[in-house]
Symmetry: C2
Subunit: 200 residues, 2 copies
Amino acid sequence: MAELEKGPQGLRRGRGARERILSASQQLFRDQGINQTGMDQLCAVAQVSKRTAYQHFTGKDELVAEYLRRFDPDVMPGVFDRTDLTPRERLLAAFEAPTTATQDDITPLCPFIAASVEIPDHRHPARQCVQDYKKAVAARLAETAREAGATNPEQLGEQLALLLDGASARNRALNTETFPTAAAIAAVLIDNAIPTPAQR
Amino acid sequence: MAELEKGPQGLRRGRGARERILSASQQLFRDQGINQTGMDQLCAVAQVSKRTAYQHFTGKDELVAEYLRRFDPDVMPGVFDRTDLTPRERLLAAFEAPTTATQDDITPLCPFIAASVEIPDHRHPARQCVQDYKKAVAARLAETAREAGATNPEQLGEQLALLLDGASARNRALNTETFPTAAAIAAVLIDNAIPTPAQR
DNA sequence: GGTTATGTACACCGATCCGTGTTCTTAACA
DNA sequence: TGTTAAGAACACGGATCGGTGTACATAACC
């Protein structure tokens, strides 16, 4: 904080404004929610002039949408790409992934669910991002389910996606880690959906 | 609307202020969300003086909490009390109940999940209501699961509760009715959890 | 060098937010 | 009848909201 002052001659926060804004959004929207985060605070955290923010984004709405779009590249980060696991193990791993580094705090609410609740208007651009993302996750789960040999991969993908969202919502509502519960259900569903259980 | 005017001599909206406020809350908080509903609008819809509202509730926070508490008496309205159904059928009926009268619009988001997302501070009184309600639902499900002869009723109750919340969240996120998917999972879990399937 | 994008600083706007103070009216109740 | 509690009407307050206008500074690129 000392060497980052706005000293008249010193280091400008400089060219990376857009990145700083999106990075601050990620932190603040997650910690406080979208509606509880004002543009003033956001700009302060991002160390960006308010004017600059509105040169990069036409408004808060667009910023929120862009904040969500940035998650797209890492749809379920690294879970589906783990070649060291069998398809079946990958499906189960999706329920352990959310467990973050520090072991005692619970998994935060999925930012897409949060956005869909905080933004009531389902024609808001951000709501489209939510829909796209949720469909993408279900599709990847279905794809992996197909690799695992499920008889009805689409159905299994949809079911597992529902479990993920249920666990996320209940984590928030109850302040308790419920992903293990979801994982247990997933195991049952997966066994039920694959005709020839591998080695058993 | 015609005969309800504030006519100087005519019918006063009169003594039922508190009820009108809570009734308006129920409608507006569901349709617009809590944060998107201002006290001014709420009082206008309730046909209540703003001053009166603040004589019944110390603030919006308390009003929100009371709004949630009013759901408690009807925890899963009528589903658990249907004596015409077997315990097993009652468990399954919980996934059809949310389907409201008009057949084409999707089930609205659970107001408790909505509140837990809209109110980030988990020490807010409303958040306690959310926790209580969610625990109560899981408990009633577990109770019914016990009646149905489940080997681990608490676990089944927790699992079914997760399915309900998952379907509710995805309904909002995807704008698609997903309770049938949850019901299908529930059927599998129930069959899996009850040792002696009745007639089969 | 000069030009042009990028960013800063800061005042400012109307709207809306939650909440209060004040005065008056009416219904219930004794 | 008089008293009291419940409510209405309405202006007002400070805070914050998303968003803008303007003038100035700096970095990059030619």
